[in-house]
Amino acid sequence: MNAQRVTDDELHAYVDGQLNPDRRLVVERWLADDSEAAQRAEDYRAQAALLHELFDPVLRESASDPVHDLTEKLRGRVAGNDNVPAWHAKPWVRMAAAVMLVVAGAGGGWMGRSAVGTSPAVQQRQTLQTFAEEATQAHRFYTSDERFQVELNADNQDELNSWLSKRVGRDVFGPNLEKVGFRLIGGRSLPTDLGAGAQYMYVNDANKRVTLFVGAPQAGNPAKFGFTQNGDVATIYWVEGSLAYALAGRLAKEELLGIAEAVFNDVKAGPPRRDPPPQQQQNPQQQPQDQQHPPEQQQNGVQPISDTQKPKDS
């Protein structure tokens, strides 16, 4: 039992994710036996979670002008950092930095324990986190079986967008992610804590899927964004304008971040102006009397939320 006595340093390294991998199992075995040590590890994690709660809001603030200017200067000077043009919108940069630095889910149940007394700010945070969790679950669920992955496919994107806009009650659209190699295959509408949400599904050449979940929060708060990892599914979420977005995929955080950036930029650029399908008449955005046009299949796809309904096409 004492043969592989774990040191105090190793307990810290375990908590900080700096432990030698071959010692990890030893430490875990020890923690399973020693409830006092397990409690210490949990308390240390809880401390880290509290520090993040206290200071992560700094990540959402803009840097002062001089700091911002110096960052640009430094970018130009430091070797190994290409002089990247300001291709990224400022809010994106802040979001990306925050996503990389925020530890989500740290503390696990411990954090949940105290989520009782809630101010509106806390409530909104929780709502967004719930939204992100729903997006994660929906991703897991609807990528598990290709037959039910979408209610309405993306053959006619205008139709898809206007149908989902109606469900969500805001103008939503599936951004173009071709720049990062992902093609829109379709979407579905789902009930969420924030009302109806739209899930857009994308696939790349390697048959990897990502889903973008869009919903309408009660009050837009442009400064909120975050990252959660649930098993193998990573989710990045944020609020832009009057909509909340959650992008989920079985990808590394950095890879997902690259896709989130494409979403962010395309959403900023506004709804698509794609050529109308050749066989149809010009149909800019949305017809005022939209009841006339939708084909029957759409009606079939729209009604049920459940996936027992036969998809239009697969």
């Binding site: 105090d8 340093d9 810290h12 390294a13 900080d16 994710g17 700096q18 210490r40 308390d43 240390y44 809880a46 401390q47 880290a48 509290l50 520090l51 993040h52 709660e53 206290l54 200071f55 992560d56 809001p57 700094v58 990540l59 840097a63 002062s64 001089p66 700091v67 110096l70 960052t71 200067k73 430094l74 970018r75 000077r77 430091v78 070797a79 190994g80 950092n81 290409d82 990247v84 291709w87 990224h88 940069v93 802040r94 990306a96 930095a97 925050a98 990389m100 630095l101 530890v103 105290s114 007394g117 809630t118 101010s119 700010a121 806390v122 950095e254 971040l257 690259g258 950036e261």
Partner: protein, 170 residues
């Protein structure tokens, strides 16, 4: 695009800003510290070797600038009491909601600065122990013992919450 999505530098600077805020607790002091550190980083950019640890390089510069600032202010040590510190917090509204956050802040304030730095660098900024040792110019064993003492002190205070009286920092 050799730097990951072109945001690596921003990530490090956001991290510096968060650390500076946690260390100094005051928004404008923290931005000033980061500003001075970046000014020096720009001036000494040619000493940074491509492919080496940009984050460690930046944190080390920030640390040195901070040490110098403290040294030059040493003649006039200012005592800050917990209440006035709390009024400057990042998120005052949320602050009141959660006793743990208040207690964590207070526990942090009561740590000796050398322990506070190590705790923040490791637990908040996720620096490697070796990076912290190099940045602070101390052996790694010292980093570990400061970390351990800091965590145990905070733990004792959080366990004790409720019976905490207002104390002076430092």
């Amino acid at each position: 695009m050799s730097s990951k999505f072109g945001v690596e530098l921003e990530v490090h600077i956001a991290s510096l800003r968060r650390y500076a805020r946690a260390l100094l607790r005051n928004r404008s002091d923290a931005e000033d510290l980061v500003q001075e550190a970046l000014t020096r980083a720009v001036a000494r950019a040619d000493t940074f070797k491509a492919g080496t640890n940009l984050r460690a390089w930046l944190f080390t510069i920030l640390h040195n600038v901070h040490v110098n600032q403290v040294r030059s202010k040493a003649a006039r040590p200012d005592e800050v009491d917990v209440d006035s510190v709390e009024s400057k917090l990042v998120t005052p509204a949320r602050q009141e909601e959660r006793v743990e956050l208040r207690e964590m802040m207070r526990a942090l304030d009561e740590l000796p600065e050398e322990q506070r730095k190590v705790l923040l660098l490791v637990a908040l900024e996720g620096l490697k122990y070796e990076e912290v040792a190099e940045m602070l110019g101390v052996p790694i064993g010292t980093v570990m013992s400061r970390l351990s003492r800091a965590r145990e002190a905070v733990r004792a205070k959080l366990a004790n919450e409720g019976s905490v009286t207002l104390r002076r920092v430092k």
